[in-house]
Point group: C4
Chain length 226, copies 4
Amino acid sequence: MEIEENPTESSAKPKPFALHGNERLFAFSDGVFAITITLLVLEIKIPEIPKELVATKLLSELSHLFPFIISHLVSFLVLGIFWVAHHNMFAHVKRHNHILLWLNILFLMCVASIPFPTGLLGTYPDQQISVIIYSGVLGITGLVLSLMWWYVATYRLVDDETDPEFVRFVYRHVLKAPIFYFSAILASFLSLPLAKLILACVTIFYIIPNTSVHKHYKKLDQRFNQ
Amino acid sequence: MEIEENPTESSAKPKPFALHGNERLFAFSDGVFAITITLLVLEIKIPEIPKELVATKLLSELSHLFPFIISHLVSFLVLGIFWVAHHNMFAHVKRHNHILLWLNILFLMCVASIPFPTGLLGTYPDQQISVIIYSGVLGITGLVLSLMWWYVATYRLVDDETDPEFVRFVYRHVLKAPIFYFSAILASFLSLPLAKLILACVTIFYIIPNTSVHKHYKKLDQRFNQ
Amino acid sequence: MEIEENPTESSAKPKPFALHGNERLFAFSDGVFAITITLLVLEIKIPEIPKELVATKLLSELSHLFPFIISHLVSFLVLGIFWVAHHNMFAHVKRHNHILLWLNILFLMCVASIPFPTGLLGTYPDQQISVIIYSGVLGITGLVLSLMWWYVATYRLVDDETDPEFVRFVYRHVLKAPIFYFSAILASFLSLPLAKLILACVTIFYIIPNTSVHKHYKKLDQRFNQ
Amino acid sequence: MEIEENPTESSAKPKPFALHGNERLFAFSDGVFAITITLLVLEIKIPEIPKELVATKLLSELSHLFPFIISHLVSFLVLGIFWVAHHNMFAHVKRHNHILLWLNILFLMCVASIPFPTGLLGTYPDQQISVIIYSGVLGITGLVLSLMWWYVATYRLVDDETDPEFVRFVYRHVLKAPIFYFSAILASFLSLPLAKLILACVTIFYIIPNTSVHKHYKKLDQRFNQ
């Protein structure tokens, strides 16, 4: 596109013609998110029932699927949270470099891993190891996201206008997730239901913003409204 | 891209450099649609036949696949309808905020769920529960789409030039789908073939626009023709 | 993007702010192509061999996979041809409307169907029915592509500068594929190897452009070089 | 987009309206990469354990998965390397033509093939044939990438400002991969662990840039920082 947009200006200013900005980073990331989130739902398989039993068994087989469906829909929301976070964070990132590319790939590796612990928790919900692996993977994903923001803020890849207060807010906001998740691991040694309650709370916390967060989301929305 | 496009202007005007508009929302949504719609077709599996029976059995095995193929192609069209609706709707949405992002994720969750009831209806076409779940998921998808339009229109995220009459038309047009689908659920208690007839009619209704709809599509096309 | 690009111009000219052009059509199409073409290759499964036999059996099991791998790589090239054709064709399409959206969805339905006949031909290469279904699906895909070009050219959705001679060339060029494929179906009644030879020839014909085609590709390349 | 961006200029200058530049090539490539890299991770399946044995067996079954997980995460990084290489290379490619499109499709065919040898190596890590096929596919992928750069540099599709020294550096840098991979094949005849050590070294070499490479990455980053 850049090739064609201002062809007459090309001689005037030594503008790097072929350069793409962050779009490919976005396209690649959005692709990984879209595939992971979609395949998560596609994991829910239709029960196979012998022909003569279909009429009597189908309903009960479907109701057996219910906990599996719930765990996958919750993970859909968790992936949604990470996508929204990535989306909001990169609205402030004006450029990238080799290291940011690789931090992003590391983050996407975590994202693409989420279906595994999700399936584990959906299949073996009563095992502590399922809760530990699930919380661990999500916690590490959150840590890598925080690391990315730290890198971006420290090496001035953010938009110069970004408010330093906002930078600190994002830190605090993003770091809450791994803290929650790692405390869910600790809680799992005391009580599995308590650990699961923490997992549910993190999800709700990030989807329904509380008052302190609200102010910053407002500001972010205003950016998109300019 | 915005980074590079007008680098000289950066000091003149405090333009948010790193900001992406609706593109990531589009990229993510188009990704989920593309994966769901493609995997729907890929669900059609090649029959496995022992080597010595291939010559005699292959044709009949393939003809057994026929109803399964039909139900998947119909769902391909249904997903096509929802994509076209999303495409047309967002041609009028000039910005987004936290809540619209999440309504969209909710909508995509419904979209990604469609292969499950499709497979169910394709595998157990004679069970009322299949028809109910199929119509239910599609009905809810339509409801969430209507909710999105309501939110976008109410909170002025639409393009200011959008004709109020057009806004009302989209409401009425989009809301017809859930009404149809929920009446298919009611019909399924009377007669399964009737319920399926309703399902077929909704699909045709949205693909082949009738006269009242035509006028609005014309206008939409003109937007794209400017 | 359009939101941000020229924010100062917004009051001056009643420009439809939220409008996206053909990008979503491209994003959706490229997504379907990317998924179909990738999953085609991912269909090639690792042979499962009992532990004690791995050393002796692995090589021979892998060599059994060879015809299956070949048929999938050929289909990869065929999907490549259709993507290149879509890419080149839409370089001349300046706008779209409801009907073009649906013709494109129909085309993508054909594209997403290609792995099925490919797997069929790879699994049962000696059955006439495999050759017929494979040629039939590819032939219909080519027909729908021709239909799209006819629609686009007839209803003036092409770029006004497009040379009428070029329009006619694309017709002839694109229509050759279904003619070839349907003649492969006829040939399959005489001889399967002959039919397969025709299939191989179409693929080579479209990848390695001959002299008459070359001139037009040159012109197309020049467009991209401006 | 180009349709709408400068509608008033259309009469003044015979600009090809409908033309897209490299974006579709990028969208298609990023899609193939995103799907391949995501599905690689999704290959890691949850162990199926009978209900009564879950408590005692789950942990040991998960630990058995460990080598499989490692080989898939390494391939994730390898695909990341190729994506970063494609991303950096095409930052200098200002246009494309028929042949570049096809070289890119050939490259994507190699990329999409990587999960197969990865699974092979993960499933049968002690077989020489696994190491040979794995190194072979990655080596060919690197060769095709080098071929693409050679083509692009020779036929002047690169940005005119691209430093000839940089062009030569990319050659040398990209060609190192196939040389490493093919020497891993040779090494596999002497010692499998040695071959695997080479495979590990290539990966680290490309992710953590050494001093000589660093200078060029710096320059590339500066391009993105302009």
